[in-house]
Symmetry: C2
Subunit: 368 residues, 2 copies
């Protein structure tokens, strides 16, 4: 019953076993099986036959140990379950698979501790390259160390101060600016924004606002995406000559739909409520929608909304939700491609790919 049809692996056959039954040396067996060096047609067939009979399956561990390459990429994502990461991962997976690479995936839950663990694990497993969405844009000793060891690294979605490596992200500032300007063009004057805006010693919302509103130069690259999108929001106001009302900036404080949901109601019961809402990512969007549903507010009659990140439900929600669509799949693919280039040894200076986002207009913004 077990393994008695041809081609079925009996147990574990090594190259030495194959060589023995084929009557050749392990060297020649290795050559035909590994596809390197010269081999005569005759021995080739003998070896192939023997391998087939024994159900030989190469052990990539041994191969990798000697070649120094594992044909495996490591990815540390925030949370596979999150649609953003799920899509990015799919993009990475697509090009990895097309190039015969495996994918070692971990979650950081946006925490530095787990990220460090993950990177360590992946490094020990000798991945050929790493794709990371860094949880901290300032201190990242573990990522710097990676560079000195020579493991190629590509960042997604966020940058790290002082870490000059390939990076792919959405052009958050431009995308947010464009979306908010659309709201303004539709006649909205009081536009709220709900963003996580976690504050990692970056000086706090007040100072940031002061500088942004004044138009002071800001180092934008190492900003977290939600801050970048807030910046776009502010710039839109500046350009259109509108004041920024800090009471309209809802700081969720953490990357969870619940936090977003909790922060919205307080806004709508204010004396001078907004006529439009801008959310800065999928998670915030979900939280905001939950809150609006609870408040029984109608879109866009009671409140217009533009979201960030195009989630499945936005297209069949009634009304359709106007949103800024990030090319998530393409971002993953681009990151993986860049990483593979580095692994192949190509030696450009570090590249930053800012991908354009697309504003998909549906029915969630009213003209005033």
């Amino acid at each position: 019953m077990r393994g008695n049809f041809p081609g079925a692996p009996k147990s574990k056959a090594t190259i030495a076993d194959v060589a023995r039954t084929a009557g050749v040396s392990t060297a020649t067996a290795g050559r035909v099986l590994g596809g390197y060096g010269y081999t005569s047609e005759k021995k080739r067939e003998q070896v192939l036959k023997a391998a087939q009979d024994l159900g030989y399956r190469p052990n990539s561990l041994a191969r990798s140990l000697i070649t120094g390459k594992t044909r495996t990429l490591g990815v540390v994502a925030g949370d596979i379950q999150n649609p953003f990461y799920a899509s990015v991962l799919r993009g990475i997976s697509n090009v990895a698979e097309a190039n015969g690479f495996g994918l070692l995936i971990t979650n950081s839950d946006e925490t530095q501790l787990k990220e460090v663990h993950s990177v360590e694990l992946l490094a020990q497993k000798q991945v050929d390259g790493l794709i990371v969405t860094p949880s901290d844009t300032r201190k990242a000793r573990h990522l710097h160390n990676l560079r000195t060891v020579g493991v190629p690294l590509v960042l997604i979605d966020r940058a790290v101060a002082g870490l000059m490596v390939d990076r792919v992200a959405t052009d958050n500032i431009a995308a947010a600016e464009h979306a908010v300007r659309q709201l303004i063009a539709a006649g909205h004057r009081r536009i709220a924004i709900v963003a996580e805006l976690v504050d990692e010693g970056s000086g706090g919302l007040d100072t940031f606002l002061a500088r942004a509103v004044a138009g002071d130069p800001i180092e934008t690259d190492t900003l977290y995406p939600s801050w970048q999108r807030l910046l776009g929001y502010i710039r839109a106001h500046r350009i259109e000559g509108l004041p920024v009302d800090q009471r309209l900036i809802l700081q969720a404080g953490s990357y969870s739909a619940l936090a977003a949901q909790a922060v919205v109601p307080r806004l709508m019961i204010a004396s001078d409520p907004p006529t439009a809402l801008f959310t800065t990512d999928g998670t915030m969007s979900e939280g905001a929608m939950r809150a609006l549903t609870e408040l029984k507010l109608s879109i866009p009659q009671d409140l217009s909304i533009i979201c960030f990140d195009d989630l499945d439900w936005m297209s069949f929600h009634r009304p359709g939700i106007t949103t800024v669509a990030q090319p998530r799949l393409a971002m993953g693919e681009a990151a993986a491609r860049m990483l593979l280039e580095r692994i192949r040894g190509e030696d450009y200076p570090p590249r930053t790919v800012l991908m354009p986002a697309e504003l998909i207009e549906r029915g969630s913004v009213a003209r005033l």
Copy 2:
């Protein structure tokens, strides 16, 4: 600038390097670094110091080659991007991480060819165990082979005929039966069902229906989930003494929201349209919702609906969508735990864990 602070890996330090600078043999260095065998406190500190200075990082490849264990699980999922798989993967990831295991993830896109490739890749990388959602419940030579080689295997969501291995799935029949009976209890008599029902030589819908309606015994384990859920639908009708109208069974024919979307409209323009709709999974639900939105049908006034699989938007959709929630995360966790037990060598007979689904009642079904 590069690696000149303590603890930073200079390049690649091996155990031999550490041993040399610590003035001990590679054997003792290995003992303290690997945490096996006896070591004196004095040499322990010497070695640890040396390892720290050199930035030593163990090479798990070499370790795995000799121990025969990689501490890595392989997963072949249908599509990481799909919320069902994304959650299951997160569950697997949780227990893998808690046990110090890595995760090698691939997509099969529900196709046998890619599944075979994936399994081959993962086997070559010497994963300690495999979790698979098999794309074909009948022929699966590659999975049988796996068993003869001795790689532990756990199936999720679907079984394979004749393959006696651990398995975790939702109790689809009971869940669907319960949901449909709820609809009937609410007064619905004409209930449509939209399911993928891909037909892998299983005799087709007609024969299946004939047997199911007659109450003939059916081998349910190796049925695809959508067929199981259809069976639950039929049983609910039988129990409640209602006839099954084949025209109300919408066969999408493939696992995509588009296919589901395409198949719904034809139903609603029929002479005797249903008053309720039951969808058999998240993807079908999405497609159906898209179609209903296009048709401008109001839920639950024009049509009641119960979905399968609790997607994010169902809770904040207006009205809330009543749905059968599968414990996706828990399924992944259970599968991973079972796999780890097998890897540890525990030798039960093959177990099948059927997890109960929960009917979450929201506002999408009207009482007639």
